[in-house]
Amino acid sequence: MKRDLRFYLKLMFYTFKISAFTFGGGYVIVTLMKKQFVDELGWIDEKEMLDFTAMSQSSPGSIAVNASVLVGNKVGGVVGSIVALVGTVLPPLIILTVISHFYTAFIKINAVRYLLLGMQSGVSAVICDAVYTMFKTVWKESRWIALITSVIAFVLVAVLSVNVIIIIIACIILGIILYGRGEKKA
């Protein structure tokens, strides 16, 4: 990948586009980034995207910004991380600055609510699709352990509202115990 001006403009465009359409929190943007940078462009691989997600969740700041800085850093070094940061921050920055002047009217616009109600279906479908392909990746890597860990993590967070950091720490320890001494050579 040639890191010229064209490349950085592309990176800026993609991060801007993804950020502008991220409704519904950090994990939504992660799935959109996976679609764009893993599936469409092949700039990073799926395992890296999962690693970046875990790192983004465990570090201060929003998942969206952290994840795009990590992607930018990986594909374009320090300049890339700054470009990705700016691309991600600009849409909310512009929108909120504009809206701050007439927000009381904005909140009451029914059309925006209807649009968002519909978009929830699209976002859910995108997440389900991404979860399906991501699961295939971890299944290939660690089989039944992957199935058990992902289901337990899902139940703990979705049903029991356990703190995510606890799950991350537990899985790091589990991973080190199970695989930390290196792969056995066949």
């Binding site: 700041g61 991380s81 649009l115």
Partner: protein, 190 residues
């Protein structure tokens, strides 16, 4: 003076908001409402509503919104800058460490153990969006289940798997579908 206060306040929000999303809310409330009185409680509630209606993380939305209301465009720029600077520095250091050490067996093992959990976490985010979208009182709801949302989801998922359409196109498409459906049948308050 205002700009420096905004910068200092949002630097702290950026540094101490761990976990993303609504985990940052109490911290933002403390800085913006309790300590500085930049927003009233009602305005803060409005800010949360706006954040749900617009793209972007809540901390950045709050920084741009409060900054713009207090000191115009320079205010929103400074506050947003403050909010992203600490996480940017920390995550850049993490990125460095990741590139340097991800071939070590211990780190490889830890990451391998972590990946399936991340899939579970993303699935749980999907689950919470699906449940708030399906279990919703709108003009198309039957016994508290929004039939239109369920059908729209099934159709969209099918389209995504079959034709591999771009997710942004899909999200926009369902937005327009929602606009039409709920304009006819009536929508609910999110």
């Amino acid at each position: 003076m205002m700009l420096i206060k905004l910068l200092w306040s949002f630097l702290q929000i950026g540094l101490f908001s761990i976990g993303g999303g609504y985990a940052a809310l109490p911290l933002i409330h403390e800085q913006v409402v309790d300590l500085h009185g930049w927003l009233t409680d009602v305005e803060f509630a409005d800010l949360v509503t706006i954040s749900q209606m617009t793209p972007g993380p809540i901390a950045i939305n709050a920084a741009s919104f409060v900054g713009a209301r207090m000191a115009g465009i320079p205010g929103s720029l400074i506050a947003t800058f403050g909010c992203v600077l600490p996480p940017f520095i920390i995550i850049s250091i993490l990125a460095r460490l990741y590139m340097k050490y991800n071939s070590l067996d211990v780190i490889k093992g830890a990451l391998k153990g972590l990946r399936p959990a991340v899939v579970g976490l993303i699935a749980s985010a999907g689950f919470s969006i699906i449940s708030s979208s399906w279990l919703n009182e709108t003009g198309t709801s039957v016994y508290g289940v929004d039939i239109a949302a369920v059908l729209l989801f099934v159709a969209t998922f099918f389209v995504m798997r079959k034709w591999k359409k771009s997710p942004i196109l899909v999200i926009c498409g369902t937005g327009i579908a929602g606009l039409i459906i709920y304009s006819i049948f009536g929508g609910a308050v999110i």
